[in-house]
Amino acid sequence: MFNDRTAKFLLLAALVICVGGAFAPNWIVNQFMFGFSRALAILGLMVLWRTGLVSFGHAFYFGLGAYAVAILDSKLGVSDVFLRLLAGAVVAGVAGFLIGFIMRNYRDIFFAMLNTAISMVLFGIVVKTESLGSTDGFAISASTIFGLAPETKYPLFVIITLVGLTAALAVNFYLKTTFGKLTTAIRDNEIRVEYLGFSVAHAIHLKYTISTILAGGAGALMAMSLGQVDPESMINWTVSGELVFVTILSGPGNVIAPFIGSLVFEVLRTYAFELAPQAWQLIMGATFLTIIFFLPGGIWSLIEKLGGKKNEK
């Protein structure tokens, strides 16, 4: 699990980031927290994309994770960071597993649309429900770690980084198993995979569930980082679109890519909003088109070209 270049890089990078975070100014720490939270969801979407599937509705699971934290907080007073994270991932994962029974038979545009429909059902419910905060959402109390309430964001930052590290290592390993190697095979030729003796439906179900667990965890972490939840920035179809955007921006080549792509996205968004709030969507859309046309392998393919890191499939 630890003997390939990707794993070694991940471990080193996590170490450097954790240590560096202790000395970095708040705004940098925040960028990393938001970026790495989102990166978890991107990791899952990347696995689906490698299989040839694009979901335009993963904000459903992201939102479930976030709102699970919010509800646990407001109704049960749960503030422990690990419980919150677990809740987010489990709620989303169970939903994903159940929905996966249906979803695994869909492809292409129908797969994308069914996910959209389900996510908008949740959006519709939350937006109109007072007790769920409707359009305003609600705030979340600060997270505690083993009962202790930290003074700064640093401990949460470290936890998010370590969670990201764990997820990346796990997915990296997964992609080297028979199940994982089937991503591109299924995308290339499903019929052959069935004929060779492997159930494509089972494989897709597993990948879908993994992606929903990750998205739920991402939502939980994001909720904790932000200190609040609201439907517009967490469940609406535009959020699903953003997740897809970052997935394409990052590229499918390596588990490191989602983290780089998510950071780039955070930085881009922060600066775009500061310089020209009217132009954020324009920049995002134009970047999207540029990647689709000129760099379909995303940022990671650029990094590979520059020769820095070897692509480990």
Binding site: T178, K181, I191, V193, E194, G197
Partner: protein, 257 residues
């Protein structure tokens, strides 16, 4: 014809698509180790037969028994697990991956069943099996080439090699030499049949080229309009009046020199 050492028993197979009868009264026994050629004009029912035996199509009526067990209703995956594989007329391979990667996937699926599928795929054991297949099918020179860049002939070899790694007991090849140039056909079939002979696989292959059929098979099944009109050794089949009229037509007479 009723043979106790037959491993494949087809009885009264019927396939209709609405008013169209694609297959009718198909009764055949195949013995272990036979090499059978399936001939017939386009649309005669050959590929339909292959699709039914391998579980891609369900017959309207009839039974297909493999070593006594009923295959009808099982589906392609279970039939592959049972020991029957097939290759495709248009090679069905993973075009964005290399030849080695294609074979590794086939080997992994065949060897890593159930929970094993969650273990690492690239193991020394699988690698040595890969080397063996590459050698058998003379694919070593192209082992790191991406499939989309390969010639048709190599792709078909790969297609067949992938079907064989699960060590099937029956292999159905659907027009293995179609798309391969006339000069290369025999070399191609020599490689394939040579490799298959080593494992003692029972082979049925659909073929249009009668010279290939004569050279490699011990028995011919001739199809016409969904029915088997002849079931005999190749020399007899080619001399049979019905086969000549409905399958070979005048072309073969022109070819014979």
């Amino acid at each position: 014809m009723r043979n106790s050492s037959s491993i494949l028993q087809v009885r009264n197979l019927l396939k209709t698509f609405g008013a169209v009868v694609a297959a009718k009264d198909i009764n055949v026994d195949i013995s272990q180790g036979e090499i059978v050629g399936i001939i017939g004009a386009n649309g005669a029912g050959k590929t339909c037969f292959v699709n039914m035996v391998t579980g891609y199509l369900a017959p309207t009526e009839g039974s297909i028994k493999f070593e006594g067990a009923e295959l009808v209703g099982l589906g392609t995956r279970k039939i592959t697990h049972a020991g029957i594989s097939r290759s495709f007329q248009v090679s069905q391979v993973f075009h964005s991956m290399t030849v080695s990667e294609n074979l590794m996937i086939a080997l992994a699926i065949a060897n890593n069943r159930g929970a094993d599928a969650l273990g690492l795929m690239d193991t020394p054991d699988l690698r040595s099996k890969l080397d063996e297949v590459l050698k058998r099918y003379k694919l070593e020179p192209q082992k790191d080439a991406t499939v989309s860049a390969l010639a048709q002939g190599v792709r078909k070899l790969l297609d067949i090699a992938m079907a064989v790694v699960s060590k099937p007991r029956i292999l159905l090849l659907d027009e293995p030499t179609s798309g391969i140039s006339v000069e290369e056909k025999f070399d191609f079939m020599d490689i394939v049949m040579g490799a298959l002979k080593e494992d003692g696989v029972t082979v049925l292959f659909v073929e249009h080229d009668m010279e290939i059929v004569e050279r490699y098979v011990s028995r011919v099944l001739a199809f016409y309009q969904g029915e088997i009109i002849a079931d005999m050794p190749p020399k007899d089949a080619l001399a049979d009046k019905k086969v000549q009229e409905f399958v070979i037509g005048k072309e073969h007479h022109k070819k014979k020199k």
